[in-house]
């Protein structure tokens, strides 16, 4: 589901501009499968699937595969349209140093939702 994340984000000039001050690595956990996403000046530099022995990242987004699959549908069901909707229902954990996440929330929300665009194709 994250195979084309870098291409999708980097092709969106407006989104890259919105994230132009972002320089961090974050982790997406789908069940126990970890993926590290490296961001530099709003562009996704690398998407690296685990497993990792000592993963180095600022913040992590953790949810089950079934939750991510609903979240990434082209038209997600009610309650699965937004990260905070999942957090409120305790279906997702956002943890670690979340300063980069909160200070660039509009950027990260759209980055994380990018695979929806792929689902539409």
């Amino acid at each position: 589901m994250l195979d084309h994340l870098a291409h999708l984000v980097n092709a969106d000039a407006g989104l890259v501009r919105r994230g132009r001050f972002v320089d961090t690595t974050f982790l997406i956990a789908i069940d126990d499968a970890d993926t590290l996403v490296r961001v530099q000046e709003g562009r996704i530099i690398s998407v690296t699937p685990g497993p990792f022995i000592t993963p180095d990242y600022s913040f992590a987004l953790r949810a089950s595969r079934s939750v991510w699959e609903k979240f990434w549908q082209a038209k997600p069901p009610l309650g699965f349209t937004d990260i905070f909707a999942l957090v409120k229902q305790k279906l997702m954990r956002v943890e670690g140093n979340i300063h980069p996440f909160m200070s660039n929330l509009l950027y990260f929300k759209d980055v994380i939702a990018m695979p929806r665009g792929e689902a539409k194709r």
Binding site: L78, G79, D82, I83, F84, A85, K88, H99, N104, L105
Partner: protein, 281 residues
């Protein structure tokens, strides 16, 4: 060529609120039954501009939206720099009644969204005789915090951007892009700590669950409208309140937490039957 003005007029009202002099910014349009509109936390009266431009609503209602003190073009009271803004149930009720008095409104209808959708329950509990009817948009009796509110006001995070980021997912994904970003722009323009201060009422002080049983809608009819995509004030939360009060509630398709600004045309379609019922009271 004549200027292309909208039918909305904006003015400043000098009034005394919560024991202090204020200069409140107020917009209005239409004529008829006064309909006092209450904006969401951290935003301002611009949220109702679509409604005020809609002849279906303005032909029978005098629609009035004021920016609460600290919001929009209503500045904080003198001395604000030494205070932390924090909205309470007490102050919010007194503020709304104070504005209605300052405008000399005779039994207005009050319609509020989110924090406004909550405070209409407090108005129904404390001041039912002052209102012809109350309309709650995105009403829930209580919403517990689901993120750390301290992120909303600290010097190393842009307050406007994080506020917009927090609420962005509450807008229905079907909302027109222009309206979505206009709704977010209002949040981006909010003063430092104002959204957080409003949420003190929403997520801490304004819990009205223990008093719901004391509200009698025969003294002041209540109506509820909630967008299906709202995960903050949920459809379930609204329906529970309506059932407890014996009031009518409608869940609005393809709308979220900001129905009047995210898709005003669609929202007015849901509001009109309520306004017709109020006219028949």
């Amino acid at each position: 060529m004549s200027p292309c003005f909208e039918p909305i007029t904006g003015r400043y009202l000098k009034c005394q609120l919560l024991g202090k002099p204020h200069r409140l910014y107020i917009e209005e349009a239409g004529s008829g039954i006064p309909l006092l509109c209450l904006h969401t936390a951290g935003s301002d009266g611009r949220q109702f501009r679509g409604l005020m431009n809609d002849e279906r609503a303005t032909k029978n209602f005098r629609i009035i939206a004021f920016d609460m003190p600290w919001h929009g073009k209503s500045s904080p009271p003198a001395g604000w720099q030494d205070d932390e803004y924090q909205l309470t149930s007490r102050n919010y009720v007194d503020l709304i009644v104070g504005v209605a008095d300052a405008l000399a409104l005779d039994k207005p209808v009050a319609m509020g969204c989110s924090i406004g959708g909550r405070i209409v329950l407090h108005l129904a509990h404390e001041k039912p005789e002052r209102f012809r009817a109350l309309i709650g948009l995105e009403t829930a009796a209580f919403t517990a915090p689901y993120y750390d509110l301290s992120w909303l006001n600290r010097p190393d995070v842009h307050g406007g951007m994080v506020s917009a980021g927090v609420v962005s997912g509450l807008i229905a994904p079907t909302a027109p892009s222009e309206a979505r970003w206009e709704t977010l722009w209002h949040y981006m323009q909010s003063g430092p700590g104002v959204f957080k201060g409003d949420l003190h009422f929403y997520m801490v002080d304004g819990d009205i669950r223990p008093k719901l049983g004391e509200i009698d809608i025969r003294r002041c009819p209540m109506f509820f409208l909630t967008g299906e995509y709202d995960y903050s004030c949920t459809a379930e939360g609204t329906l529970a309140v309506a059932e407890k009060l014996g009031a009518q509630a409608t869940i609005m398709k393809d709308l979220g937490h900001f129905p009047m600004s995210e898709d005003s045309n669609k929202f007015v379609g849901y509001l009109l039957p309520v306004l017709e019922k109020i006219m028949a009271l």
